[in-house]
Symmetry: C2
Subunit: 311 residues, 2 copies
Amino acid sequence: MRSVKAFAPATVANVSCGFDILGFAIDAMGDTVELVLKDEPGLQVVSIEGDEGKLPLEAEKNTCAVAIQAMLDELGSNVGMNIYLTKGLPLGSGMGSSAASAVAALAAANRLLGDPFEKKDLLPFAIAAEKVACGAGHADNVAPSLLGGFALIRDYHPLDVIKLPVPEGLYCTLLHPHFELKTADSRSVLRDMIPMKYATIQSGNVAGLIAGLYESDFELISRSLRDVIAEPYRAVLLPGFYEVREALKSAGALGMGISGSGPTLFALSKGKEIAEAVGEAGKEIFSKIGLEVDVYFSEINTRGAYIIEEK
Amino acid sequence: MRSVKAFAPATVANVSCGFDILGFAIDAMGDTVELVLKDEPGLQVVSIEGDEGKLPLEAEKNTCAVAIQAMLDELGSNVGMNIYLTKGLPLGSGMGSSAASAVAALAAANRLLGDPFEKKDLLPFAIAAEKVACGAGHADNVAPSLLGGFALIRDYHPLDVIKLPVPEGLYCTLLHPHFELKTADSRSVLRDMIPMKYATIQSGNVAGLIAGLYESDFELISRSLRDVIAEPYRAVLLPGFYEVREALKSAGALGMGISGSGPTLFALSKGKEIAEAVGEAGKEIFSKIGLEVDVYFSEINTRGAYIIEEK
Protein backbone atom coordinates (compact mmCIF):
# COMPACT_ATOMS: atom_id res chain seq x y z
CA MET A 1 0.00 0.00 0.00
CA ARG A 2 0.99 3.58 -0.56
CA SER A 3 2.75 5.24 2.39
CA VAL A 4 4.29 8.59 3.36
CA LYS A 5 6.65 9.43 6.22
CA ALA A 6 6.99 13.03 7.46
CA PHE A 7 9.03 14.85 10.09
CA ALA A 8 8.02 17.91 12.14
CA PRO A 9 10.46 19.85 14.34
CA ALA A 10 10.35 20.68 18.03
CA THR A 11 9.40 24.27 18.78
CA VAL A 12 9.87 26.96 21.37
CA ALA A 13 6.67 28.89 22.08
CA ASN A 14 6.36 32.27 23.82
CA VAL A 15 9.98 33.31 23.20
CA SER A 16 10.28 35.57 26.24
CA CYS A 17 8.69 38.92 25.30
CA GLY A 18 6.66 37.08 22.64
CA PHE A 19 4.43 35.52 25.31
CA ASP A 20 1.45 33.79 23.67
CA ILE A 21 2.13 35.25 20.20
CA LEU A 22 5.52 33.91 19.02
CA GLY A 23 7.19 30.59 18.43
CA PHE A 24 10.13 29.19 16.50
CA ALA A 25 11.24 25.80 15.26
CA ILE A 26 14.58 24.08 15.98
CA ASP A 27 16.56 21.67 13.89
CA ALA A 28 17.75 19.59 16.84
CA MET A 29 14.84 17.15 17.04
CA GLY A 30 11.27 16.36 16.23
CA ASP A 31 8.61 13.71 15.67
CA THR A 32 8.16 11.37 12.73
CA VAL A 33 4.83 10.03 11.49
CA GLU A 34 4.37 7.32 8.88
CA LEU A 35 0.96 6.87 7.31
CA VAL A 36 -0.11 3.87 5.29
CA LEU A 37 -3.27 3.93 3.18
CA LYS A 38 -5.89 1.35 4.15
CA ASP A 39 -8.53 -0.29 1.98
CA GLU A 40 -11.31 0.48 4.41
CA PRO A 41 -12.22 3.81 6.09
CA GLY A 42 -11.05 4.79 9.56
CA LEU A 43 -7.90 6.01 11.25
CA GLN A 44 -5.97 3.53 13.33
CA VAL A 45 -2.99 4.39 15.51
CA VAL A 46 -0.98 1.20 15.07
CA SER A 47 2.11 2.06 17.09
CA ILE A 48 3.77 4.79 19.10
CA GLU A 49 7.47 4.57 19.83
CA GLY A 50 9.48 6.66 22.27
CA ASP A 51 6.60 7.71 24.54
CA GLU A 52 7.18 5.09 27.26
CA GLY A 53 3.60 3.98 26.73
CA LYS A 54 2.14 7.27 27.89
CA LEU A 55 0.25 8.41 24.80
CA PRO A 56 -3.26 7.15 23.90
CA LEU A 57 -3.74 4.86 20.92
CA GLU A 58 -7.47 5.63 20.68
CA ALA A 59 -8.00 7.68 17.52
CA GLU A 60 -10.28 10.22 19.19
CA LYS A 61 -7.63 11.03 21.84
CA ASN A 62 -4.50 10.75 19.72
CA THR A 63 -3.24 14.07 18.43
CA CYS A 64 -2.14 12.63 15.05
CA ALA A 65 -5.50 11.01 14.40
CA VAL A 66 -7.47 14.05 15.60
CA ALA A 67 -5.50 16.30 13.26
CA ILE A 68 -5.94 13.99 10.26
CA GLN A 69 -9.64 13.53 11.03
CA ALA A 70 -10.15 17.32 11.05
CA MET A 71 -8.52 17.44 7.63
CA LEU A 72 -10.62 14.56 6.27
CA ASP A 73 -13.79 16.20 7.61
CA GLU A 74 -12.92 19.39 5.73
CA LEU A 75 -12.40 17.37 2.56
CA GLY A 76 -15.51 15.27 3.12
CA SER A 77 -13.28 12.22 2.75
CA ASN A 78 -13.38 8.90 4.57
CA VAL A 79 -10.02 7.56 3.42
CA GLY A 80 -8.57 5.10 5.92
CA MET A 81 -4.99 5.27 7.23
CA ASN A 82 -2.75 3.38 9.61
CA ILE A 83 -0.66 5.70 11.76
CA TYR A 84 2.84 4.94 13.06
CA LEU A 85 4.23 7.64 15.35
CA THR A 86 7.87 7.88 16.46
CA LYS A 87 8.40 10.45 19.22
CA GLY A 88 11.73 12.20 18.89
CA LEU A 89 11.04 14.65 21.68
CA PRO A 90 10.02 14.23 25.28
CA LEU A 91 6.42 14.66 26.44
CA GLY A 92 5.43 17.55 28.67
CA SER A 93 8.79 19.24 28.28
CA GLY A 94 7.62 22.51 26.78
CA MET A 95 9.16 21.79 23.39
CA GLY A 96 5.92 21.40 21.46
CA SER A 97 5.67 17.63 21.66
CA SER A 98 1.98 17.30 20.78
CA ALA A 99 2.33 19.97 18.10
CA ALA A 100 5.17 18.13 16.35
CA SER A 101 3.13 14.90 16.26
CA ALA A 102 0.04 16.61 14.84
CA VAL A 103 2.03 18.57 12.27
CA ALA A 104 4.03 15.55 11.08
CA ALA A 105 0.77 13.64 10.72
CA LEU A 106 -0.81 16.45 8.69
CA ALA A 107 2.20 16.86 6.42
CA ALA A 108 2.17 13.13 5.69
CA ALA A 109 -1.61 12.96 5.22
CA ASN A 110 -1.64 15.96 2.89
CA ARG A 111 0.97 14.33 0.66
CA LEU A 112 -0.80 10.95 0.82
CA LEU A 113 -3.97 12.63 -0.48
CA GLY A 114 -2.15 14.42 -3.30
CA ASP A 115 -1.50 17.77 -1.58
CA PRO A 116 -5.06 19.14 -1.52
CA PHE A 117 -3.93 21.89 0.88
CA GLU A 118 -1.24 24.55 0.91
CA LYS A 119 1.05 24.07 3.90
CA LYS A 120 -0.30 27.13 5.71
CA ASP A 121 -3.87 25.88 5.30
CA LEU A 122 -3.09 22.84 7.45
CA LEU A 123 -2.85 25.06 10.53
CA PRO A 124 -6.51 24.94 11.61
CA PHE A 125 -6.36 21.12 11.71
CA ALA A 126 -3.25 21.22 13.87
CA ILE A 127 -4.92 23.73 16.18
CA ALA A 128 -7.91 21.39 16.49
CA ALA A 129 -5.51 18.64 17.60
CA GLU A 130 -3.85 20.96 20.14
CA LYS A 131 -7.28 21.61 21.61
CA VAL A 132 -7.62 17.88 22.33
CA ALA A 133 -4.02 17.40 23.49
CA CYS A 134 -3.62 20.54 25.61
CA GLY A 135 -7.16 21.72 26.29
CA ALA A 136 -6.50 24.95 24.40
CA GLY A 137 -6.15 25.57 20.68
CA HIS A 138 -2.87 27.44 20.75
CA ALA A 139 -0.99 27.97 17.50
CA ASP A 140 2.40 29.10 18.82
CA ASN A 141 3.86 25.59 18.60
CA VAL A 142 2.02 24.19 15.57
CA ALA A 143 2.62 27.25 13.37
CA PRO A 144 6.45 27.24 13.61
CA SER A 145 6.56 23.42 13.51
CA LEU A 146 4.61 23.48 10.26
CA LEU A 147 6.13 26.56 8.60
CA GLY A 148 9.60 26.74 10.17
CA GLY A 149 11.42 29.83 11.39
CA PHE A 150 9.77 32.35 13.67
CA ALA A 151 5.99 32.48 13.48
CA LEU A 152 3.94 35.38 14.76
CA ILE A 153 0.36 34.56 15.73
CA ARG A 154 -1.12 38.04 15.36
CA ASP A 155 -4.67 36.90 15.89
CA TYR A 156 -6.87 33.80 16.16
CA HIS A 157 -10.21 35.21 14.96
CA PRO A 158 -9.57 34.88 12.11
CA LEU A 159 -6.23 33.11 12.27
CA ASP A 160 -3.42 35.43 11.16
CA VAL A 161 0.04 33.86 11.15
CA ILE A 162 3.06 35.76 9.83
CA LYS A 163 6.33 34.00 9.09
CA LEU A 164 9.26 36.17 10.21
CA PRO A 165 12.84 36.16 8.91
CA VAL A 166 15.61 34.30 10.72
CA PRO A 167 19.04 36.00 10.96
CA GLU A 168 21.83 33.82 9.64
CA GLY A 169 23.86 32.26 12.40
CA LEU A 170 21.10 32.41 15.02
CA TYR A 171 21.30 29.29 17.19
CA CYS A 172 19.10 27.92 19.92
CA THR A 173 20.17 25.98 23.00
CA LEU A 174 17.58 23.93 24.89
CA LEU A 175 18.00 22.78 28.48
CA HIS A 176 15.49 20.17 29.58
CA PRO A 177 15.81 19.54 33.32
CA HIS A 178 14.37 16.26 34.54
CA PHE A 179 11.45 17.29 36.60
CA GLU A 180 7.77 17.50 35.87
CA LEU A 181 5.98 20.80 35.54
CA LYS A 182 2.30 20.59 34.70
CA THR A 183 1.09 23.08 32.10
CA ALA A 184 -1.92 23.75 34.33
CA ASP A 185 0.37 24.80 37.21
CA SER A 186 2.44 26.91 34.86
CA ARG A 187 -0.74 28.61 33.67
CA SER A 188 -2.25 29.03 37.12
CA VAL A 189 0.56 31.25 38.44
CA LEU A 190 -0.08 33.84 35.74
CA ARG A 191 -2.02 36.98 36.63
CA ASP A 192 -5.39 37.81 35.07
CA MET A 193 -4.70 41.51 35.45
CA ILE A 194 -1.35 43.19 34.93
CA PRO A 195 -0.11 46.76 35.27
CA MET A 196 -0.60 48.83 32.10
CA LYS A 197 3.04 49.77 32.44
CA TYR A 198 4.11 46.14 32.00
CA ALA A 199 1.97 45.80 28.89
CA THR A 200 3.81 48.79 27.40
CA ILE A 201 7.22 47.36 28.31
CA GLN A 202 6.27 44.01 26.79
CA SER A 203 5.02 45.72 23.60
CA GLY A 204 8.27 47.66 23.29
CA ASN A 205 10.34 44.52 23.65
CA VAL A 206 8.34 42.41 21.23
CA ALA A 207 8.48 45.26 18.71
CA GLY A 208 12.25 45.38 19.25
CA LEU A 209 12.56 41.63 18.76
CA ILE A 210 10.62 41.73 15.48
CA ALA A 211 12.75 44.63 14.22
CA GLY A 212 15.89 42.76 15.35
CA LEU A 213 14.89 39.68 13.35
CA TYR A 214 14.29 41.79 10.22
CA GLU A 215 17.53 43.74 10.68
CA SER A 216 19.63 40.70 11.72
CA ASP A 217 20.58 42.94 14.64
CA PHE A 218 21.76 40.51 17.32
CA GLU A 219 22.30 43.29 19.86
CA LEU A 220 18.74 44.49 19.46
CA ILE A 221 17.44 40.93 19.72
CA SER A 222 19.44 40.59 22.91
CA ARG A 223 18.12 43.80 24.46
CA SER A 224 14.56 42.83 23.53
CA LEU A 225 14.50 39.33 25.02
CA ARG A 226 12.82 40.33 28.28
CA ASP A 227 9.47 39.07 29.51
CA VAL A 228 7.82 41.05 32.29
CA ILE A 229 4.36 39.51 32.25
CA ALA A 230 4.86 35.73 32.50
CA GLU A 231 8.46 34.87 33.38
CA PRO A 232 8.56 36.59 36.80
CA TYR A 233 5.62 34.45 37.97
CA ARG A 234 6.70 31.21 36.31
CA ALA A 235 10.33 31.45 37.40
CA VAL A 236 9.37 30.52 40.95
CA LEU A 237 8.25 27.09 39.68
CA LEU A 238 11.64 26.48 38.08
CA PRO A 239 14.46 25.52 40.47
CA GLY A 240 17.60 27.53 39.84
CA PHE A 241 16.00 29.71 37.15
CA TYR A 242 17.84 32.93 37.97
CA GLU A 243 21.22 31.22 38.51
CA VAL A 244 20.85 29.44 35.18
CA ARG A 245 19.83 32.68 33.49
CA GLU A 246 22.92 34.40 34.85
CA ALA A 247 25.17 31.52 33.73
CA LEU A 248 23.71 31.41 30.20
CA LYS A 249 24.15 35.15 29.76
CA SER A 250 27.69 35.01 31.10
CA ALA A 251 28.42 32.28 28.56
CA GLY A 252 27.37 34.67 25.81
CA ALA A 253 23.68 33.95 25.20
CA LEU A 254 21.77 36.84 23.59
CA GLY A 255 18.90 36.06 25.91
CA MET A 256 16.92 33.21 27.36
CA GLY A 257 13.52 32.27 28.62
CA ILE A 258 11.08 29.50 29.40
CA SER A 259 10.27 27.30 26.42
CA GLY A 260 6.48 27.13 26.17
CA SER A 261 5.21 26.61 29.70
CA GLY A 262 8.44 24.88 30.76
CA PRO A 263 10.28 23.23 32.36
CA THR A 264 12.63 23.41 29.35
CA LEU A 265 14.61 26.63 29.07
CA PHE A 266 15.79 28.06 25.76
CA ALA A 267 18.60 30.45 24.94
CA LEU A 268 19.37 32.22 21.68
CA SER A 269 22.99 32.77 20.64
CA LYS A 270 25.01 34.08 17.75
CA GLY A 271 26.91 31.13 16.30
CA LYS A 272 27.35 27.47 17.10
CA GLU A 273 30.28 27.81 19.49
CA ILE A 274 28.43 30.14 21.84
CA ALA A 275 25.29 27.97 21.67
CA GLU A 276 27.38 24.99 22.76
CA ALA A 277 29.12 26.90 25.56
CA VAL A 278 25.74 28.16 26.75
CA GLY A 279 24.53 24.56 27.02
CA GLU A 280 27.58 23.57 29.05
CA ALA A 281 27.16 26.55 31.38
CA GLY A 282 23.52 25.64 32.02
CA LYS A 283 24.33 22.01 32.59
CA GLU A 284 26.86 22.95 35.25
CA ILE A 285 24.38 25.00 37.25
CA PHE A 286 21.66 22.33 37.01
CA SER A 287 24.09 19.67 38.18
CA LYS A 288 25.05 21.88 41.14
CA ILE A 289 21.42 21.98 42.24
CA GLY A 290 21.15 18.23 41.70
CA LEU A 291 19.02 18.18 38.55
CA GLU A 292 19.81 16.04 35.54
CA VAL A 293 19.40 17.92 32.32
CA ASP A 294 19.36 17.12 28.61
CA VAL A 295 21.03 19.72 26.44
CA TYR A 296 20.35 20.29 22.74
CA PHE A 297 21.50 23.00 20.42
CA SER A 298 20.97 23.70 16.75
CA GLU A 299 20.24 26.36 14.20
CA ILE A 300 16.72 27.67 13.92
CA ASN A 301 14.77 25.35 11.61
CA THR A 302 13.57 27.39 8.66
CA ARG A 303 11.74 24.84 6.54
CA GLY A 304 9.29 23.43 9.09
CA ALA A 305 7.70 20.02 8.54
CA TYR A 306 8.86 18.01 5.55
CA ILE A 307 8.39 14.67 3.81
CA ILE A 308 11.12 12.12 4.56
CA GLU A 309 9.96 9.27 2.36
CA GLU A 310 7.08 8.19 0.15
CA LYS A 311 6.38 4.81 -1.33
CA MET B 1 26.01 87.50 13.54
CA ARG B 2 25.96 83.87 12.54
CA SER B 3 22.46 82.32 12.38
CA VAL B 4 20.81 78.99 11.58
CA LYS B 5 17.16 78.22 10.82
CA ALA B 6 15.81 74.66 11.22
CA PHE B 7 12.51 72.90 10.69
CA ALA B 8 11.07 69.95 12.63
CA PRO B 9 7.94 68.07 11.54
CA ALA B 10 4.69 67.37 13.35
CA THR B 11 4.37 63.84 14.68
CA VAL B 12 1.79 61.21 15.55
CA ALA B 13 2.58 59.40 18.80
CA ASN B 14 1.09 56.10 19.99
CA VAL B 15 -0.04 54.94 16.52
CA SER B 16 -2.93 52.78 17.75
CA CYS B 17 -1.44 49.44 18.86
CA GLY B 18 1.90 51.22 19.39
CA PHE B 19 0.60 52.94 22.52
CA ASP B 20 3.46 54.69 24.34
CA ILE B 21 6.21 53.07 22.20
CA LEU B 22 5.71 54.29 18.60
CA GLY B 23 5.54 57.54 16.72
CA PHE B 24 5.94 58.80 13.18
CA ALA B 25 6.62 62.12 11.49
CA ILE B 26 4.48 63.78 8.81
CA ASP B 27 5.47 66.07 5.98
CA ALA B 28 2.36 68.26 6.21
CA MET B 29 3.58 70.75 8.79
CA GLY B 30 5.98 71.58 11.56
CA ASP B 31 7.76 74.28 13.54
CA THR B 32 10.64 76.52 12.52
CA VAL B 33 13.31 77.87 14.86
CA GLU B 34 15.90 80.47 13.97
CA LEU B 35 18.88 80.92 16.27
CA VAL B 36 21.24 83.88 16.18
CA LEU B 37 24.57 83.83 18.05
CA LYS B 38 24.96 86.48 20.72
CA ASP B 39 28.12 88.11 22.00
CA GLU B 40 27.23 87.48 25.62
CA PRO B 41 26.10 84.22 27.31
CA GLY B 42 22.44 83.35 27.90
CA LEU B 43 19.46 82.14 25.92
CA GLN B 44 16.78 84.65 25.08
CA VAL B 45 13.46 83.84 23.46
CA VAL B 46 13.02 86.95 21.37
CA SER B 47 9.79 86.11 19.57
CA ILE B 48 7.17 83.41 19.11
CA GLU B 49 4.83 83.58 16.15
CA GLY B 50 1.69 81.56 15.56
CA ASP B 51 0.95 80.66 19.20
CA GLU B 52 -1.64 83.37 19.85
CA GLY B 53 0.51 84.54 22.74
CA LYS B 54 0.06 81.31 24.69
CA LEU B 55 3.65 80.11 24.98
CA PRO B 56 6.07 81.42 27.64
CA LEU B 57 9.01 83.59 26.61
CA GLU B 58 10.91 82.88 29.86
CA ALA B 59 13.88 80.71 28.93
CA GLU B 60 13.39 78.28 31.82
CA LYS B 61 9.81 77.54 30.72
CA ASN B 62 10.26 77.67 26.96
CA THR B 63 10.73 74.28 25.35
CA CYS B 64 13.26 75.55 22.78
CA ALA B 65 15.44 77.21 25.40
CA VAL B 66 15.21 74.27 27.82
CA ALA B 67 16.31 71.88 25.08
CA ILE B 68 19.23 74.07 24.01
CA GLN B 69 20.25 74.65 27.64
CA ALA B 70 20.38 70.87 28.24
CA MET B 71 22.67 70.57 25.22
CA LEU B 72 24.91 73.44 26.38
CA ASP B 73 25.12 71.93 29.87
CA GLU B 74 26.30 68.65 28.35
CA LEU B 75 28.95 70.53 26.36
CA GLY B 76 29.92 72.72 29.31
CA SER B 77 29.30 75.70 27.04
CA ASN B 78 27.84 79.09 27.83
CA VAL B 79 27.34 80.31 24.28
CA GLY B 80 24.52 82.84 24.03
CA MET B 81 21.71 82.67 21.48
CA ASN B 82 18.63 84.60 20.50
CA ILE B 83 15.69 82.31 19.72
CA TYR B 84 12.95 83.05 17.16
CA LEU B 85 10.20 80.41 17.09
CA THR B 86 7.55 80.14 14.38
CA LYS B 87 4.78 77.69 15.26
CA GLY B 88 3.49 75.86 12.22
CA LEU B 89 1.29 73.51 14.19
CA PRO B 90 -1.43 74.11 16.73
CA LEU B 91 -0.81 73.81 20.49
CA GLY B 92 -2.40 71.01 22.49
CA SER B 93 -3.64 69.25 19.39
CA GLY B 94 -1.86 65.93 19.87
CA MET B 95 0.45 66.49 16.91
CA GLY B 96 3.66 66.87 18.89
CA SER B 97 3.69 70.67 19.06
CA SER B 98 6.18 71.04 21.92
CA ALA B 99 8.33 68.25 20.48
CA ALA B 100 8.62 69.97 17.09
CA SER B 101 9.72 73.23 18.75
CA ALA B 102 12.35 71.52 20.89
CA VAL B 103 13.68 69.42 18.03
CA ALA B 104 13.89 72.34 15.59
CA ALA B 105 15.75 74.31 18.26
CA LEU B 106 18.21 71.46 18.84
CA ALA B 107 18.83 70.87 15.14
CA ALA B 108 19.60 74.59 14.70
CA ALA B 109 21.74 74.82 17.83
CA ASN B 110 23.76 71.74 16.90
CA ARG B 111 24.59 73.22 13.51
CA LEU B 112 25.33 76.63 15.02
CA LEU B 113 27.90 74.98 17.31
CA GLY B 114 29.53 73.04 14.48
CA ASP B 115 27.62 69.75 14.80
CA PRO B 116 29.17 68.46 18.05
CA PHE B 117 26.43 65.78 18.24
CA GLU B 118 25.11 63.08 15.95
CA LYS B 119 21.42 63.62 15.26
CA LYS B 120 20.35 60.68 17.42
CA ASP B 121 22.39 61.98 20.36
CA LEU B 122 20.21 65.09 20.53
CA LEU B 123 17.29 62.98 21.82
CA PRO B 124 18.02 63.23 25.55
CA PHE B 125 17.97 67.04 25.32
CA ALA B 126 14.62 66.96 23.56
CA ILE B 127 13.27 64.59 26.19
CA ALA B 128 14.42 67.00 28.90
CA ALA B 129 12.41 69.73 27.17
CA GLU B 130 9.34 67.48 26.95
CA LYS B 131 9.57 66.97 30.69
CA VAL B 132 9.21 70.73 31.18
CA ALA B 133 6.54 71.19 28.50
CA CYS B 134 4.38 68.12 29.26
CA GLY B 135 5.39 67.05 32.75
CA ALA B 136 6.69 63.72 31.40
CA GLY B 137 9.80 62.96 29.40
CA HIS B 138 8.18 61.01 26.60
CA ALA B 139 10.18 60.30 23.46
CA ASP B 140 7.43 59.17 21.10
CA ASN B 141 7.04 62.62 19.56
CA VAL B 142 10.60 63.94 19.76
CA ALA B 143 12.22 60.79 18.33
CA PRO B 144 10.26 60.74 15.04
CA SER B 145 10.37 64.55 14.77
CA LEU B 146 14.16 64.39 15.00
CA LEU B 147 14.85 61.22 13.01
CA GLY B 148 11.86 61.01 10.66
CA GLY B 149 9.88 57.92 9.72
CA PHE B 150 8.53 55.54 12.31
CA ALA B 151 10.45 55.49 15.59
CA LEU B 152 10.17 52.69 18.12
CA ILE B 153 10.99 53.63 21.70
CA ARG B 154 11.90 50.18 22.98
CA ASP B 155 13.11 51.41 26.33
CA TYR B 156 13.94 54.57 28.29
CA HIS B 157 16.50 53.17 30.75
CA PRO B 158 18.77 53.38 28.87
CA LEU B 159 17.13 55.09 25.92
CA ASP B 160 16.75 52.67 23.00
CA VAL B 161 15.23 54.16 19.87
CA ILE B 162 14.95 52.15 16.64
CA LYS B 163 14.14 53.79 13.32
CA LEU B 164 11.76 51.59 11.33
CA PRO B 165 11.27 51.48 7.56
CA VAL B 166 8.42 53.34 5.84
CA PRO B 167 6.60 51.57 2.99
CA GLU B 168 6.53 53.64 -0.17
CA GLY B 169 3.18 55.26 -0.75
CA LEU B 170 2.11 55.28 2.89
CA TYR B 171 0.17 58.47 3.59
CA CYS B 172 -1.21 60.00 6.74
CA THR B 173 -4.37 62.05 7.14
CA LEU B 174 -4.82 64.21 10.22
CA LEU B 175 -8.16 65.51 11.45
CA HIS B 176 -7.93 68.19 14.09
CA PRO B 177 -11.36 68.97 15.50
CA HIS B 178 -11.71 72.33 17.20
CA PHE B 179 -12.22 71.43 20.81
CA GLU B 180 -9.90 71.28 23.73
CA LEU B 181 -8.85 68.01 25.28
CA LYS B 182 -6.40 68.28 28.16
CA THR B 183 -3.60 65.72 28.13
CA ALA B 184 -4.22 65.20 31.85
CA ASP B 185 -7.84 64.21 31.17
CA SER B 186 -6.76 61.96 28.34
CA ARG B 187 -4.27 60.27 30.68
CA SER B 188 -6.66 60.03 33.62
CA VAL B 189 -9.18 57.80 31.83
CA LEU B 190 -6.54 55.13 31.23
CA ARG B 191 -6.52 52.07 33.48
CA ASP B 192 -3.61 51.27 35.79
CA MET B 193 -4.35 47.57 35.51
CA ILE B 194 -5.46 45.79 32.36
CA PRO B 195 -6.42 42.21 31.55
CA MET B 196 -3.42 40.04 30.62
CA LYS B 197 -5.43 39.02 27.57
CA TYR B 198 -5.45 42.60 26.28
CA ALA B 199 -1.68 42.87 26.73
CA THR B 200 -1.29 39.79 24.53
CA ILE B 201 -3.64 41.17 21.87
CA GLN B 202 -1.78 44.48 21.88
CA SER B 203 1.60 42.67 21.59
CA GLY B 204 0.33 40.64 18.64
CA ASN B 205 -0.86 43.75 16.87
CA VAL B 206 2.24 45.81 17.44
CA ALA B 207 4.36 42.86 16.27
CA GLY B 208 2.14 42.67 13.17
CA LEU B 209 2.51 46.40 12.53
CA ILE B 210 6.32 46.22 12.74
CA ALA B 211 6.38 43.21 10.39
CA GLY B 212 3.99 45.06 8.05
CA LEU B 213 6.28 48.08 7.90
CA TYR B 214 9.30 45.87 7.07
CA GLU B 215 7.35 43.86 4.49
CA SER B 216 5.53 46.89 2.99
CA ASP B 217 2.45 44.75 3.57
CA PHE B 218 -0.41 47.26 3.66
CA GLU B 219 -2.98 44.57 4.44
CA LEU B 220 -1.01 43.43 7.47
CA ILE B 221 -0.56 47.03 8.61
CA SER B 222 -4.31 47.45 8.28
CA ARG B 223 -5.15 44.32 10.29
CA SER B 224 -2.67 45.34 12.99
CA LEU B 225 -3.87 48.91 13.59
CA ARG B 226 -6.02 48.07 16.62
CA ASP B 227 -5.54 49.44 20.10
CA VAL B 228 -7.30 47.61 22.93
CA ILE B 229 -5.63 49.24 25.92
CA ALA B 230 -5.97 53.00 25.44
CA GLU B 231 -8.39 53.81 22.62
CA PRO B 232 -11.52 52.25 24.17
CA TYR B 233 -11.16 54.48 27.24
CA ARG B 234 -10.11 57.62 25.39
CA ALA B 235 -12.75 57.34 22.69
CA VAL B 236 -15.44 58.45 25.15
CA LEU B 237 -13.72 61.84 25.41
CA LEU B 238 -13.84 62.33 21.65
CA PRO B 239 -17.22 63.30 20.20
CA GLY B 240 -18.16 61.19 17.20
CA PHE B 241 -15.09 58.96 17.45
CA TYR B 242 -16.74 55.74 16.33
CA GLU B 243 -18.73 57.38 13.52
CA VAL B 244 -15.57 59.06 12.24
CA ARG B 245 -13.68 55.77 12.49
CA GLU B 246 -16.36 54.03 10.45
CA ALA B 247 -16.31 56.80 7.83
CA LEU B 248 -12.52 56.82 7.49
CA LYS B 249 -12.41 53.06 7.05
CA SER B 250 -15.24 53.17 4.51
CA ALA B 251 -13.25 55.78 2.59
CA GLY B 252 -10.37 53.30 2.36
CA ALA B 253 -8.12 54.07 5.32
CA LEU B 254 -5.90 51.18 6.39
CA GLY B 255 -6.61 52.10 9.97
CA MET B 256 -6.90 55.06 12.27
CA GLY B 257 -6.44 56.12 15.85
CA ILE B 258 -5.95 58.98 18.25
CA SER B 259 -2.86 61.07 17.54
CA GLY B 260 -0.91 61.30 20.79
CA SER B 261 -3.45 61.99 23.49
CA GLY B 262 -5.82 63.70 21.06
CA PRO B 263 -8.04 65.37 20.10
CA THR B 264 -6.47 65.03 16.63
CA LEU B 265 -7.21 61.75 14.87
CA PHE B 266 -4.86 60.16 12.36
CA ALA B 267 -5.47 57.68 9.58
CA LEU B 268 -2.98 55.78 7.46
CA SER B 269 -3.75 55.10 3.80
CA LYS B 270 -2.14 53.65 0.73
CA GLY B 271 -1.65 56.48 -1.72
CA LYS B 272 -2.48 60.17 -1.89
CA GLU B 273 -5.96 59.83 -3.39
CA ILE B 274 -7.25 57.65 -0.56
CA ALA B 275 -5.59 59.87 2.07
CA GLU B 276 -7.44 62.86 0.59
CA ALA B 277 -10.77 61.02 0.40
CA VAL B 278 -10.32 59.89 4.01
CA GLY B 279 -9.90 63.50 5.06
CA GLU B 280 -13.09 64.52 3.23
CA ALA B 281 -15.03 61.65 4.81
CA GLY B 282 -13.89 62.65 8.29
CA LYS B 283 -14.68 66.30 7.70
CA GLU B 284 -18.24 65.42 6.69
CA ILE B 285 -18.91 63.50 9.91
CA PHE B 286 -17.40 66.20 12.10
CA SER B 287 -19.47 68.87 10.37
CA LYS B 288 -22.62 66.76 10.97
CA ILE B 289 -21.93 66.79 14.71
CA GLY B 290 -21.20 70.50 14.57
CA LEU B 291 -17.44 70.47 14.99
CA GLU B 292 -15.08 72.47 12.85
CA VAL B 293 -12.07 70.47 11.79
CA ASP B 294 -8.75 71.13 10.10
CA VAL B 295 -7.66 68.41 7.71
CA TYR B 296 -4.09 67.72 6.63
CA PHE B 297 -2.62 64.89 4.65
CA SER B 298 0.88 64.05 3.47
CA GLU B 299 3.40 61.32 3.05
CA ILE B 300 5.23 60.08 6.10
CA ASN B 301 8.23 62.36 6.66
CA THR B 302 11.35 60.21 6.47
CA ARG B 303 14.16 62.72 7.02
CA GLY B 304 13.05 64.29 10.30
CA ALA B 305 14.36 67.70 11.33
CA TYR B 306 16.54 69.58 8.87
CA ILE B 307 18.37 72.84 8.36
CA ILE B 308 16.53 75.38 6.18
CA GLU B 309 19.08 78.17 6.10
CA GLU B 310 22.41 79.20 7.62
CA LYS B 311 24.14 82.53 7.45
